[in-house]
Amino acid sequence: MGKDSILQAIRQNKPAGRPLPEIPIFPGREITPTEQFIKMAETGGSQILRAAHVQEINAMLKNLFPEARNIASPVPEITSTINLEEIQSPLELEQVDVAVIRGHLGVAENGAVWLTESACRHRILPFITQHLMLLIPETSIVPTLHDAYRNIRINDEGFGIFIAGPSKTADIEQALVIGAQGARSLTIILTAF
């Protein structure tokens, strides 16, 4: 039973060795990665804004989410109402209205942003929050997912994720609904810092 019998069966049944193909470098597109990123992210339901200084983000938050009461962010410059260092259990984050998190890079071909566990401080934060705001340097955008995987190490941290828009579903008659189980909106700020 178990491991040995499974491996034994595989050894008996597997086909003759086949080489692992090389992944080539694919040629770039006509439009710049930033242009393509904005296009794809907006198609996926994200809102794109730009900021030259991190201090601008606080004003943006007030503007975009005037009703928000609980703001949580591991980014020190952001005015948070929740101290993430004091959170003992992820369940305590249930009341978060807006979370602001730094992303590591953006992917032009699908409008996705790579986030790591340490940037979220708590893994649950980008999902449990009602609204999510991600900051990425404009210069971090790479053309394809291949480029992205060349630029990150997926096992550097215990958890990492590509997020490509607000949570969505089309499970009821294929009608697109934004705001399924995760964040209801995604705002991506392309930063110059």
Partner: protein, 454 residues
């Protein structure tokens, strides 16, 4: 014994509904076309994906061992299950150890295949499916009808009525936004209460010992990052060698599945979060046997995108439930005969062999060729339904004797012209049930050729 034709006949009795089902799926197929055309190297990616999987299948034992060693190093607890029963026992033992009575689950075809929910319910554990489509069919107590779109067969009126009964939504409400919001509230409660969370696995990376889980709703992440115990269940074929291969497969997956450039969430899990536990259950359940069938082992390359279902003219007009198995459609019809040849002997015939499935398959599985191959095996093993068996036996005899062939051809051409309808369309004419017989030419090709050749 699954009788696909009989179940399909039930399905198409409601014609407008059949058309609606057909069009919904064709619309997704269309979105897939557009998304794939946006990627200039699409065909190259399919070739690569297929090649990487060839390598995986030929070294599966090494990759699995490498994966396990790395996962253990990451602090993950790894379990191996030979079959569905062992898988269910393992999951149950993890839950029991932690005294879990409530678990949330995100979409996993493997646990459907193993009937985990029923098993755990018998042990007194509540399992809540958290993907909206899955939750809908769970509340209706029926199996999914599609691997990516579990509730594709349901109308919003039916879902509205279901939610009114189970989630106390307004009577008669059918707005998808309103119903989704109600489910969101209901599921948030379940996430908060859950003591364990289980997900399926899209890809498992040998080199790093981690797993990747793709969702649009964020339900898998809501589950595993809240609960103290996280469990990922995977078939042995989910392995890919290295992180860089994710680039190939993830570029293909969502585009093929729904026409999106990427799923909204592509989560990479490597280590348990501080204070929590992470388990991975590796399941065989017939896969190593399929690996031994040289004509069919390519079916193990499947990344469960559902594209072959969306494009299939039979699936679109017969619905997922007509296949009688967790994984319906073309891919289901080549997986099931390997599980039970007799019980599923009808499924390889639920196809026109048009080859559209193979054309859209992101990992280039030769689905329609395998369907044809299963038909041959089913005939050899004597599992053909008697009508088909008799007809084919006669046809074989006629084809083998040129004189008989010429004679029957003549008779048939004459008969088609002069016989009244009831002689031609009756219970012996399976083919003519919903079809018109072709107009018969006056002469055969042979006769024409003799006259006209120079």
């Amino acid at each position: 014994m699954i009788d696909h034709a009989e179940k399909a006949a039930e399905f198409i009795r409601d014609e407008p509904r059949t058309d609606w089902h057909d069009e919904s799926l064709w619309f997704i197929r269309h979105k897939r076309d557009k998304a794939s055309q946006d990627v200039p190297e699409w065909e190259q990616l399919r070739e690569l994906a297929s090649g990487i999987k060839d390598n995986v299948l030929s070294e599966l034992d090494h990759y699995l061992e490498q994966f396990e060693a790395n996962a253990l190093q990451n602090g993950v607890q790894v379990h191996w299950a030979t079959d569905a029963a062992e898988h269910n026992r393992i999951v149950h033992s993890i839950l029991k150890k932690h005294g879990v009575s409530r678990m949330v689950k995100s979409k996993s075809m493997l646990t459907e295949e193993c009937h985990l929910n029923d098993f755990l319910a018998e042990q007194g554990i509540e399992v809540v499916d958290t993907d909206l489509g899955e939750r809908i069919i769970q509340l209706r107590e029926e199996p999914p009808s599609h691997i990516v779109l579990p509730a594709i067969h349901l109308k919003k009126e039916e879902i509205g009525a279901l939610f009114h009964e189970k989630l106390q939504t307004r009577e008669g409400a059918t707005d998808p936004g309103y119903l989704t919001e109600a489910a969101r509230g209901h599921l948030r409660q379940k996430f908060v209460e859950a003591q364990a969370a289980l997900t399926g696995v899209n890809f498992a990376i040998a080199e790093t010992g981690g797993v990747v889980v793709c969702t649009n709703e964020g339900n898998a992440d809501m589950g595993v990052h809240l609960a103290p115990v996280q469990i990922h269940c995977m078939g042995i074929e989910k392995i890919i060698p290295k992180a860089e291969h994710l680039g190939v497969f993830i570029r293909l997956l969502a585009r093929s599945a729904t026409g999106q450039p990427s799923t909204i969430y592509t989560a990479h899990h490597h280590r348990p979060r501080p204070g929590a536990e992470m388990h991975i259950v590796i399941v065989d359940n017939g896969r190593s046997a399929q690996l031994g069938r040289s004509d069919f082992r390519n079916s193990l390359k499947c990344i469960r995108c559902g594209a072959c279902m969306n494009t299939c003219p039979i699936y679109r007009r017969s619905g997922g439930h007509s296949y009688g198995y967790t994984i319906p459609g073309p891919i289901g019809s080549i997986l099931t005969p390997g599980i039970d040849l007799k019980a599923y002997s009808d499924l390889p015939f639920a196809s026109t062999l048009c080859g559209s499935c193979s054309d859209v398959c992101p990992v280039k599985i030769n689905i329609h060729e395998q369907l044809f191959r299963w038909r041959q095996i089913i005939a050899q093993e004597g599992y053909l339904p008697s009508g088909k068996k008799r007809a084919l036996a006669w046809f074989g005899k006629i084809m083998a004797r040129p004189a008989w062939f010429r004679f029957t051809g003549k008779v048939a051409r004459l008969a088609l012209r002069i016989l009244p309808r009831p002689f031609l369309y009756n219970r012996f004419n399976e083919w003519g049930k919903a079809r018109e017989l072709p107009e018969a030419p006056r002469e055969s090709f042979q006769e024409w050729y003799k006259k006209n050749r120079r």
